[in-house]
């Protein structure tokens, strides 16, 4: 293990450190998720916190923010004075500030109001809010971070870059008095490329005032650009803490993933689309996708990998026409208009992400959810044949081993894995030419995952062209014949055959093509 230069600098320059941590560990039950973490962060330094999913990054942030209490024995000092970890009010009082990925703003309020959500408004002597002063302070604060826009417009109408600016300003709205450390958790996940540069200018302005910054991102190029030092976590342990200019992309990925590359047992994969292309996509573009073309053969399972914000989340919806798109999508040689109902008629099906919101009709029974995509087919045309419908539903519940196999239960009474199988059965029943799945095992209990995989593969064996969009490399490796890697809305890489393994996939999603010479 490359514990290159583990930073145990808790003793070094402790008095001046904006934030110093020592012996911070955290167990969830028997599982150790953060192991003896230590950190010393001088004022004005921008520290990158890097690690793969499950490395302990988010646990650390939650401990700092006071959502989790660390195991006993942890020590923390902010600007020299001790801080009790695990108390969000104490963390705020000590001068820790956070900008989370979702920004935590109130969309229908304007920037002035959002900045005063946790700081009192300036008042006149009569007790009325001094709006003009509040507005002036807001404008000044935003300007000092390099943002300039109409502060009276509701947040939800602002560009994503400006919204990030508001979140940043809100975290720092009382910085002159109190803020010492600013933690940015994946601030660029939802940002277009050109907005990232503005955010970096703002971060430099913040660190220029002596505030230490902890910057968390999956985008390695960002980390190299903005961070002075990088602390790498793996499976809860601090693997390295090094100056960012002493490392390259390749070295960092090695640190993140560990050196030994495990080549998992290879499943029999199809090398090329055999039965001809069922789905042909040309120049697909949407809000987050920037011109992608590919084809999927009959019986092929194609995976789509990409980080949050890469465009991967949009792909299934764009193919299906449920978000605005341009470009052409053809099923079995016929172009499909960009509407879900047209996609269904052309022979597509979508198992969407966020099952409760997008997949299930919570007011209805299992049977009704199962047949909702095409009711008339074999169920008696104009007059519903309830008995036949119940038989069809029971048959599919049995095939996918849904427990309990009772078609008339409310669908919400099933567990997540069983609910997901109902949504899957909805489409498998119709034998679509193209089956799209977005995060097919999201919120699914472990036991059900294999069942879902085999149902998906069963669909492919029947000749469906299957597209699986997933944030889990393990899932894509287990399920797919071929995986497309998307970065920043573009198709960057394609892995198949022996080249398709977990580590290669992780490396591919993380790094810019130029950063990695060979996989």
């Amino acid at each position: 293990m490359a514990a290159a230069a583990a930073d145990n600098g808790a003793g070094r320059a402790e008095a001046e450190a904006a934030l110093s941590l020592a012996a911070v560990s955290k167990h969830f039950g028997p599982q150790l998720v953060l192991d003896d973490f230590a950190l010393s962060l001088p004022p004005g330094e921008v520290r990158g916190l890097v690690g793969h999913n499950g490395s302990g990054k988010s646990t650390l942030v939650k401990i700092l923010a006071g959502f989790h209490k660390p195991d006993p024995g942890a020590g923390a000092k902010v600007g020299g004075s001790p801080l009790a970890l695990g108390d969000s009010q104490a963390a705020r009082d000590a001068g820790l500030r956070f900008v989370h990925q979702d920004l935590g703003l109130v969309g229908n309020l304007d920037a002035v109001d959002n900045l005063h959500l946790d700081v009192p408004y300036p008042r006149r002597r009569s007790g009325r809010i001094a709006w003009r002063a509040a507005r002036r302070q807001t404008v000044e604060l935003l300007a000092s971070l390099g943002y300039e826009f109409d502060v009276r417009r509701p947040i939800e109408e602002l560009a994503p870059a400006d919204r990030t600016g508001v979140a940043l300003a809100r975290a720092l709205s009382d910085w002159e008095r109190e803020a010492r450390v600013l933690v940015l958790d994946e601030p660029t996940a939802a940002l277009p490329v050109e907005a990232v540069a503005r955010l970096f200018d703002a971060i430099r302005a913040v660190s220029g005032r002596g505030i230490a910054v902890i910057y968390i991102s999956h985008h390695l190029d960002e980390l190299f650009e903005i961070c002075d030092e990088l602390t790498v976590l793996r499976e809860g342990r601090t693997v390295a803490s090094v100056a960012s200019d002493s490392l390259d992309h390749e070295g960092l990925v090695e640190l993140m993933l560990g050196k030994q590359l495990q080549l998992g047992e290879q499943r029999q994969r199809r090398s090329a689309p055999g039965g001809g292309a069922a789905l042909v996509v040309r120049d697909l573009a949407s809000e987050r996708i920037d011109g992608i073309s590919f084809a999927v053969g009959r019986g092929e399972v194609l995976g789509v990998a990409g980080l949050a914000g890469s465009g991967r989340e949009d792909l299934a919806a764009a193919l299906y026409g449920s978000v605005a798109r341009s470009g052409s999508v053809s099923v079995e040689g016929r172009e499909v208009p960009p509407r879900p109902d047209a996609s269904v008629r052309a022979g597509m099906g979508l198992v969407p992400a966020h099952r409760l919101r997008n997949g299930l009709i919570g007011t209805m029974s299992v049977r009704e959810n199962l047949t909702v995509a095409s009711i008339p087919a074999e169920l008696g045309g104009a007059r519903l044949n309830h008995r036949r419908e119940r038989e069809v539903a029971r048959d599919w519940l049995r095939r996918l081993e849904v427990q309990p196999p009772q078609p008339d239960r409310p669908v919400t009474s099933l567990s997540g894995g069983n609910q997901q199988r109902v949504v899957l059965a909805r489409w498998l029943r119709l034998r679509p030419a193209v089956l799209l799945l977005d995060e097919p095992t999201q919120g699914v209990d472990v036991g059900a995952i294999q069942l879902i995989y085999s149902a998906i593969r069963g669909g492919a064996a029947e000749g469906m062209a299957v597209v699986v969009c997933s944030s889990s490399a393990d899932e894509l490796v287990a399920l797919c014949d071929r995986v497309l890697v998307i970065r920043r809305g573009r198709l960057e890489q394609q892995l198949e055959g022996a080249g398709l393994d977990r580590d290669a996939l992780d490396a591919m999603t993380l790094i810019d093509t130029e950063g990695l010479k060979c996989a």
């Binding site: 109902d341 969407p352 919101r357 919570g362 007011t363 909702v372 009711i375 008339p376 519903l384 008339d408």
Partner: protein, 341 residues
Amino acid sequence: MRVKQTLEAPPEAAAGLPGEHGGEAAPNLLRRALDPRFSGIWAILACIAGFSLAIPDTFLTETTFKTVLGDQAVTGLLALAVLLPFVAGVFDLSIASVAGFAMVLCTWLSVHSGLGILLICPLVLVASTCFGVVSGLLVSRLRTNSLVTTLGMGTVALGLTQLLTHQNTIIGDFSADFTKLGQGYLLWVPLPFVYFAVVALILYLCLEHAPVGRRLQAVGGNPIASRLAGIRTERIEFTVLTISAFISGLTGIVLAAKLGAATDSTAQGYLLPAIAALFLGATQIVDRVNVLGTVIAVLLLGVGIKGLQLLGAEIWVVQFFNGAVLVFAVTIDDGGVNRLK
């Protein structure tokens, strides 16, 4: 019993036992009959029994029977007009105003136009349906809030109604044949109630026994998931508001024929009873808004109010009773209101 089998999960199926249509034992039948989902029928019988004992001379008469059915037919038709969009998650508050508009337009045309009633009726239906078309376009295409949109459209209709009446009562110049359509009987049943029954039957078949009803309920349950399942949610929202306005227009014509005269406020009073019947109906038969439950609720409200009136209750009791029933129904029905768009 048939109703229950087709509408709701048979208890055997829920318990994992086979044989949904097998012979039922007597205790099973009794348990079903006492199910709270059929409480409305018992309540109607209890009302009839109670009032019959208290005021046998006035309550137990043919006239009472006929007036209850005749009055409740109008409430019932409007309840169905609000039910259809509600099932699809869309609220239509313009029903009573559109019915009032249709009633006044029909009467006004009979006096001022010289057109035959066979021409007037289609004209009125088309004019009324236009309100639904406009609401439907706004709600489905421009994604406006249905409650606010139909409240506005209803008020527009009320304004146009007042333009025709100038706040006077218009006495219709109707043929005897036309008034008979509103005042006649089929055997002992007032004709308006027959119309109500026919519309209720059509809606019942469409909503409970046809794929289109399933789609409506899907859209009402989760419009996002429904759209992703390939259902054309916008088309459904447009269609239900259009049909709702059509039924309202029909109700207006029935009212015109029934009363022979029209004022701009006649129909307004039917809005709240219709909505009360809708929500009270949602507590019956199945745990959601449904046609048969609405029919039961309409009858229960009619019997209850008529009995109270015959007992000598003053006019305020009607409003009080309707309002209290609405609040009560909405309180015990947890599925319906939450879906209000």
